[in-house]
């Protein structure tokens, strides 16, 4: 990522954090606020990060996928449905139900991505249309089944939505212990201990959030250090050149779109199995599209897309914290009490970022073009 983008991202994140610290300082210590903002940022950035990774795998291989939103929504619904079935119909306890839920989320999203691959790679349908089909289909199918299964008279649950098996548990990452150990070794000042206390818990997150961070690293490794990545990028830049070297263009594109399906599936699972234990119609709420914006802003690289996702995450963290600190917002800052203003921040940021004022990004050369021999 070039320095312009990097400084822009740093600047925006610092700005958003500063606002919250200033507002909340009446009620909390700055370190604590910053730590909590960090944790929230990481959490809410998760579906964006995963969605962006999904897009990166598709587009790096030359397939535009605007159906990520729909794939996420499908995954959110079916993951949740599977978890509920496991839990309240088959009587499994919470943990196995949630795990099966995640697997079903991924499976349903992969099936959707398979549809996209069939349409755009085999039948060479315009890829924007393929993605739109998926988005529309997802809203329809999940909305319809949600109503039929849970709210219609005489349906399985007869208007009586069962208690979902909760959300995925937080995993403890021993950052605090690590920092404390270092504090001790270096003579342990008080400040060091404060830091350890404040930031030690930032990485104590739920599994999908942690997985997203690991997947950023893994995706970078795959795309830029392995044979698979080299071929994927070749197929997205110059499929004919790849073909003349004996690389099966169609196969590479299929598999990468399916990998994208896995990523979007995890993103979907985040909504109903990690963030909240319930499903609402159209609950992905445009995150799939913001993820695409993050992918573009990150210049189709995993780390770039992650950084951009963190910007959006920080904007949402701002929104969440403003609600927490609602009562202590200083009088001259009333504008921040207006939930519309704060709620719009992530979307306004998306627009600013997409106008390309922070320099041009370059998509893979064959992005969106079906390959004909």
């Amino acid at each position: 990522m070039d320095w312009k983008r990097f400084s822009f991202i740093t600047l925006v994140i610092v700005l958003l954090f500063t606002v919250v610290v200033l507002v909340g300082s009446a009620a909390q210590k700055p370190v604590v606020i910053i730590a909590s903002m960090l944790a929230t940022t990481l959490t809410v950035a998760t579906p964006l990060t995963l969605g962006a990774l999904s897009g990166i795998f598709c587009e790096r291989s030359g397939v535009v996928n605007i159906g990520i939103e729909g794939m996420m929504l499908t995954a959110a619904f079916f993951g949740w449905l599977a978890a509920i079935y496991m839990n309240s119909i088959f009587g499994f306890s919470s943990m196995p139900s949630l795990i099966v839920g995640v697997l079903f989320a991924i499976l349903s999203s992969v099936l959707m991505s398979l549809l996209h691959a069939v349409l755009s790679v085999t039948f060479k349908v315009d890829q924007i249309i393929g993605g739109t089909v998926i988005n529309i289909l997802a809203v329809g199918v999940t909305g319809f089944l949600n109503r039929q299964l849970f709210f219609e008279k005489g349906s399985v649950f007869g208007g009586n939505v069962p208690h979902a098996p909760g959300t995925l548990p937080i995993i403890h990452v021993p950052v605090q212990e690590g920092v404390e150990a270092i504090c001790k070794l270096t003579g342990g000042t008080e400040g060091c201990q404060t830091l350890a206390n404040a930031f030690g818990k930032v990485f104590d997150q739920q599994p999908i959030t942690i997985a997203a961070i690991l997947l950023v690293i893994l995706s970078h490794f795959i795309l830029f250090k392995t044979r698979w990545g080299l071929r994927t990028r070749a197929v997205g830049e110059h499929p004919r050149a790849a073909d003349t070297l004996g690389i099966n263009v169609q196969r590479m594109r299929y598999l990468n779109v399916l990998i994208g399906g896995v990523m979007a599936g995890l993103a979907g699972a985040y909504f109903t199995l990690e963030s909240v234990p319930s499903f609402e119609p159209v609950m992905t709420n445009g995150r799939g599209f913001i993820a695409l914006a993050a992918m573009i802003f990150g210049n189709w690289t995993p780390f770039g897309a992650w950084a951009a996702s963190l910007v959006f995450g920080a904007a949402q963290a701002l929104q969440i914290n403003m609600q927490v600190f609602r009562d202590v917002i200083p009088a001259q800052w009333t504008i921040l009490q207006n939930s519309y203003v704060v709620g719009l921040t992530p979307y306004i940021l998306t627009m600013i970022i997409l106008t390309g004022i922070i320099g041009k990004t370059i998509p893979p050369a064959a992005d969106g073009q079906p390959y004909e021999k």
Binding site: K225, H238, A242, L245, I247
Partner: protein, 507 residues
């Protein structure tokens, strides 16, 4: 030379495309360590035959033998395995990859799943030393000059241990100097036992380097000859099926008033470097001004700016008596400027549009092709049929996508379109690149005829022969400046060559 064994043999190859019989019972063979040249008109089926040998197309019938053994070639994978490598007419390189990445693609070495860049770089360095192919393995391919990109393609084949190398019009995009370098490399390769199929339209090259010459016409093999028993005239006649006038006949120019005046023009390239530095010249009606120069001395940027594709960084352009600095290509076209761009696939054509539409790309919105915003298929069809006839464009129908035509026929589509509307200035950058002798003859005659009717022509070409044959005056461009402008009759090839290489005119 003793008769070497045959390493590659194709027998009875036939390939039909919708509406064209591209290969008709073609027999072809290649001996160990020889350079076998393949000649033929545009659309004769040379590339098709090579694509079949390389596994990109499946023949309808026919047999291929490598080292006497019948082989089944379904895909490039099979041909690579059989020791065949190909350098394509339009390069098959990923511009954003490094040289090493391009070379290893499809045949990667890994260590614990990680690409072993170091091993590739080492091997590339070995190969480049062994065959004296100078290359930096870590350079980004898109930033290399075409001559070097071609070297990457050759190394790519050698990296896969190719014993048979197909070079499809390798010299079409090279400067004379680069072409000479390539011939040295080719000789070195054959000395080491590599066999080469060499496709070109340049008869001089064929006579100079080939061991055998096979000529194709309309999908068939016309014959195979020894370079010792033939000459340019005979080869040209074999290719085209009639006598070709290789020399351009032209009367002295009768220059009229100035149509293009360029004053102190400066242009920056995409990196912001000043590649055209204060250039001044005029083109008058009824004359051909040739710009000679080794490629990469600012000609590309100069032409792009004159045609409205690139902003100028200083100076003035007057065209048809008006100040046209920084005006749009459409306004320039409407004022009577025609442009034959250097890169036909990127700037000249919409490859996925049919021939007929490409032929009206500059006039589609005007009578009679567009009336009140509605396209007129009948007029577009009539125009296409006329131009296809006049310019001898080999296409099965006006409605085939232009990308499906042979390279030379793509070029003819552009030339036909640009010369067919009301114009008073033609800016032609490498107008005959990749064309066969018959077509070159036609286009050269056409350009001279248009000059005689009062058209001003700015001709940019890396072919010294073309510059010498057509120009009335010649300007030599070196490092972004015009170092000298001379009367075409008063200068020799050698003198021009020296100026192009940077010699100072006064010395």
């Amino acid at each position: 030379m003793t008769e070497q064994p045959i390493v590659l043999e194709a027998k009875g190859i036939t390939k039909n495309f919708p509406g064209v019989l591209a290969n008709d019972q073609v027999d072809f063979d290649l001996r160990k360590g020889e350079i076998h040249a393949l000649l033929g008109e545009n659309g004769a089926g040379k590339t098709t035959l090579m694509n079949i040998l390389y596994g990109l197309y499946k023949p309808d019938s026919g047999e291929i033998k490598v080292n006497g053994q019948p082989v089944v070639i379904h895909s490039p994978k099979d041909s690579i395995e059989a020791g065949i490598g190909m350098v394509h007419q339009h390069f098959m390189l990923v511009p954003v990859f490094t040289v090493a990445e391009n070379i290893m693609l499809g045949d990667e070495t890994t260590r614990y799943g990680v690409l072993d860049q170091k091993a590739v770089v080492r091997r590339v360095k070995e190969l480049s030393k062994q065959y004296s192919l100078e290359i930096d393995p870590n350079a980004i391919v898109g930033q290399l000059p075409v001559g070097v990109q071609q070297r990457v393609e050759i190394i790519k084949a050698l990296y896969r241990n190719a014993q048979i190398l197909i070079l499809d019009e390798p010299t079409a995009v090279l400067t004379p100097q680069e072409a000479d370098d390539l011939f040295v490399i080719m000789r070195e390769l054959t000395r080491r036992g590599v066999s080469i199929i060499f496709i070109t339209h340049k008869l001089k090259e064929v006579l100079a380097i080939a061991d055998r010459i096979t000529v194709m016409r309309a999908g068939r093999v016309v014959g195979t000859v020894d370079p010792k028993d033939t000459n340019e005239q005979k080869l040209a006649a074999m290719m085209v099926g009639r006598e070709v006038i290789l020399k351009v006949e032209k009367k002295p120019a009768q220059p009229g008033k100035q149509v293009l005046e360029v004053e102190g023009l400066s242009v920056h390239d995409w990196r912001g470097l000043e590649t055209v530095r204060g250039v001044t010249f005029q083109v008058r009606a009824g004359e051909i001004l040739g710009i000679a120069g080794v490629q990469g001395n600012g000609q590309t940027e100069l032409v792009e700016t004159l045609t409205g594709l690139r902003p100028s960084a200083g100076g003035k352009i007057r065209f048809s008596g008006q100040d046209m600095t920084g005006k749009s290509p459409r306004l320039l076209t409407e004022t009577g400027m025609a442009h034959i761009p250097e890169d036909r696939q990127r700037h000249g054509l919409v490859l996925s549009y049919p021939v007929a539409d490409n032929l009206v790309l500059n006039t589609y919105y005007k009578q009679p092709f567009g009336v009140r915003g509605i396209m007129q298929p009948a007029a577009i069809d009539a125009n296409a049929r006329k131009l296809i006839q006049d310019f001898d464009i080999r296409t099965p129908s006006p409605y085939v996508n232009v990308g499906k035509l042979s390279g030379g026929n793509q070029q003819k589509v552009i030339v036909a379109r640009e010369l067919s509307h009301e114009i008073n200035l033609l800016i032609a950058n490498q107008p005959t690149r990749g064309l066969d002798v018959g077509s070159i003859e036609y286009i050269h005659q056409e350009i001279v005829a248009m000059r005689d009717r009062g058209l001003g022509v700015l001709l940019v070409s890396a072919e010294l022969d073309e510059i010498m044959a057509l120009s009335d005056r010649i300007a030599v461009m070196y490092r972004g400046q015009i170092v000298v402008t001379v009367d075409a009759n008063k200068v020799t090839r050698e003198q021009l060559g020296l100026w192009m290489a940077g010699a100072h005119p006064e010395e």
